[in-house]
């Protein structure tokens, strides 16, 4: 599933910018993984009431605190996909990335869990 996401965004940025580096696609895949973790967390919080301690401070401060962790997460994702990128790209071959089926699949995988998680997280104060 994540290999497909990686391949889709690799092809997307190759088409858009002529960028043949796995870096941006790996970063996008890392964010999709975060969406899924957020979805799971929202689901668990909704069902059990369990929640992690929150970062104190304003919105900007919280985001600033999370930046180093995000960078580390991106580096891990890049290192993971860097060695596997050629194999993943070979696996999917030269098929077009922008088909209705592929776009719908990406929306279902990446956007739908985020939307559900957002709906579940709106009640949190």
């Amino acid at each position: 599933m994540y290999n497909f996401i990686f391949w889709f965004f690799y092809r997307f940025f190759e088409w858009r910018d002529g960028d043949r580096s796995p870096l941006v696609a790996a970063v996008v895949t890392a964010v999709v993984v975060l969406f899924h973790l957020g979805f799971l967390y929202a689901l668990i919080r909704e069902c059990t009431g369990f929640s992690f301690p929150r970062i104190a401070g304003s919105y900007s401060h919280r985001k600033a605190v999370m930046v180093p962790f995000m960078i580390i997460w991106f580096v891990i994702s890049y290192l993971y996909f860097k060695s596997r990128s050629s194999r993943i790209i070979e696996k999917y071959g030269d098929q077009k990335f922008g088909t209705f089926r592929n776009i719908a699949f990406v929306i279902v995988i990446a956007v739908l869990p985020l939307l559900v998680a957002i709906l579940l997280s709106r009640k949190v104060e």
């Binding site: 910018d17 870096l23 975060l34 957020g38 009640k123």
Partner: protein, 168 residues
Amino acid sequence: MDKGRFVEPSSSGQVHTPGTHKPSTTTPTAESEPQTQTTTNSPATNKSPLLDNANTAVNGASVVPSTIAMGTEVIKKSATYTDDIARIGQTATRASRILGVGAIGLTAVDGLSNGWKNHHTADAAIGAAQTFLLGSGPVGWGVSLGFFVTDLLVKAYSGKSITEHIFD
């Protein structure tokens, strides 16, 4: 000075052609006298038979090959500069994509852990538009940079971001 000279020697007696400092690429076209390359501007040098045919050779260094070499060097350098500019552009585009995606990730994590507010939706939508819809290049970078700087100024002045002001 002799008339009809194509390139005149400098005060040191040498012809300086930028990019080519190799007087060894000499193809003498004058009489086959023993060539003695001097770096002084002595009268004896100026009266050399080589300099009588100075359209093609100065101080034993042929002008035409050195001119061609100079042109080749200029083309090489400009090609390198073009490559560098393209590389810088691609790096900037890549960096803007990563920053945009990173901003979406940070917004999502903050919203899902602290309760999703309207400004999270706005920030995610703006980040997605900047990352995926705005083209790479000066327009996209300008819009993104303009929004980023304005947001920083608003935060510094009021403690809240633009989207927090508008949507909350």
